[in-house]
């Protein structure tokens, strides 16, 4: 069952085609990895899914709703949560307040939101810093807060944009376990953009590779990494150095 279906999605900025007729499907309960070199259009695809940019052509269907031209907040209400590559904490609010803002999407009352927020705090291992101002969190905390805020909205689908970048090995392990838990414990479908190959190859069920805004390969991690087209067109020319946790 596909929860998100992207059909011939195209985005042009002036003369530049940032996303070029990309079609992809995300099945309920899976983790889909979206890979591609820097500037290949991954974040743009996220920005199109939740309507930060207007779509030039193509359609996006989520859970049976056509969300191509729906405003961002309604898409979020429908159940797509996302994180930002450049984290966007609500700086002058405390960590728990940040998460409560997300929780209010489904909760009407203060106490209800607080309850949800407390659960999410624990889930993302943020309970120790609940009262801290979000602006003064270290990077790892901010990345987790980003996930926590999105989780608090109780999404059906979570778009994770480079949540592991800039983390040290221990933090990375923690982040991976959180992401895995999101699927196993909360049953939330995930689309993840990540540069750290190890991360994406180990947690993804399927991989969708793009370069220059266009799809170049799709399949299981094993398939994609041996796909001749990928190696030739993508891995071959855009060879990537990877970060990896020191074992």
């Amino acid at each position: 069952m596909s929860i998100l279906k992207i059909d011939n999605l195209t985005k042009r900025f002036g003369g530049l085609t940032a996303v070029d007729h990309v079609s992809l499907e995300v099945n309920e309960g899976e983790i889909l990895g979206l890979i591609g070199p820097n500037g290949s259009g991954k974040t743009t695809i996220f920005n199109l899914i939740n309507s930060y940019y207007p779509v030039s052509s193509g359609t996006i269907t989520f859970n049976g709703h056509d969300i191509t031209h729906m405003p961002t907040n309604r898409i979020a209400k429908l159940g797509i949560g996302r994180t930002f590559q450049v984290v966007k904490p609500l700086k002058r609010l405390s960590v728990i307040e940040n998460i409560m803002v997300g929780a209010f999407a489904r909760e009407k009352t203060f106490s209800g939101a607080r309850k949800v927020a407390t659960e999410v705090l624990e889930f993302c291992h943020l309970d120790g810093v609940a009262k801290m101002k979000a602006g003064s969190l270290p990077i790892a905390g901010r990345k987790r807060l980003e996930i926590a805020k999105a989780l608090a909205t109780r999404p059906l689908l979570l778009l994770l944009d480079e949540t592991a970048a800039g983390l040290n090995p221990t933090e990375l392990v923690q982040a991976i376990s959180i992401i895995k838990n999101i699927r196993t414990e909360l049953g939330i479908t995930i689309v993840i953009v990540e540069h750290i190959m190890r991360v994406i190859m180990t947690i993804s069920d399927r991989i969708h590779a793009i370069a220059q805004g266009a799809t170049i390969a799709e399949g299981t991690p094993a398939e994609v990494s041996v796909d001749p087209a990928t190696i030739a067109a993508y891995l071959g020319s855009d060879f990537k150095a990877e970060n990896r946790p020191d074992a």
Partner: protein
């Protein structure tokens, strides 16, 4: 020539670089490779003293860069071509190039430098009056590199010049880098595009989480199992 010695750097309470040390010698092409957010660009920003180092020394031909004004650094020939090009979009190509030659040491040669750049990038000569913001990505990257060259660099620091470019253009940019190097300009390159850069560089450093974790010649690293595995993910 350029010596980075036990440098720490951070923004506020967030430490980004940890005890970075490396050296670049005259005429070399040195590459810093690493994932997004590993701190590669921060190294360059620290060298240009846009963000001050919190610890350690950076010297260039004996000049202490951590104590120098940004303009002083430029005048001494340490030139930074930033990630994402950072062109002045509402200025013409030529004006963008001129902006590269503000320093007292580059200004007298402005005319020759312009000619030199136009010879290197004939396409820019055609588009000299066009607004930089209206150029294609590859052309913009050319302007960025050319703008760096206008400053009469001794060391040219290129931050991800391949960003968002089609493979054919990436090839072209790297060829230009090599050509510039042939002219005697030292190059410090930051790249994610490991295979191609490692293939032509003299030496490389791998940066992870703000620390240097591996070093060697390009070929050594290309053959290194660790690097191969990390990049392929299998």
């Amino acid at each position: 020539m350029l010596k980075i010695d036990h440098v720490d750097m951070g923004y506020g309470d967030l430490q980004v670089l940890w005890d970075i040390s490396f050296e670049v010698s005259q005429g070399e092409i040195v590459v810093l490779v690493g994932a997004n957010g590993a701190g590669k660009s921060s190294v360059l920003r620290t060298i240009s003293n846009i963000v001050p180092a919190t610890k350690g020394n950076i010297t260039f031909n004996g000049l202490e860069l951590t104590q120098a004004q940004p303009l002083e650094i430029i005048e001494n020939g340490v030139i930074h071509v930033p990630e994402g090009r950072l062109l002045f979009n509402e200025m013409s190509v030529e004006e963008n190039l001129i902006m590269g030659s503000l320093s007292s040491q580059a200004k007298p040669h402005r005319k020759q430098s312009l000619e030199y750049c136009y010879d290197l990038f004939p396409r820019l000569r055609e588009r000299r009056t066009q607004m930089a913001g209206t150029l294609s990505g590859g052309e913009q990257q050319m302007v960025a590199v050319a703008r760096g060259l206008m400053a009469k660099p001794k060391v040219l620091m290129l931050d991800e010049p391949s960003l968002g470019l089609a493979p054919i253009l990436v090839q072209e940019i790297f060829e230009i880098a090599q050509a510039v190097n042939q002219e005697g300009i030292t190059i410090l390159l930051v790249e994610q595009n490991v295979r191609q850069t490692l293939a032509f560089c003299h030496r490389a450093y791998v940066i992870e989480n703000g620390r240097i974790t591996k070093t060697g010649t390009g070929q050594e690293l290309l053959n290194d199992g660790y690097v191969r595995e990390a990049f392929l993910g299998i």
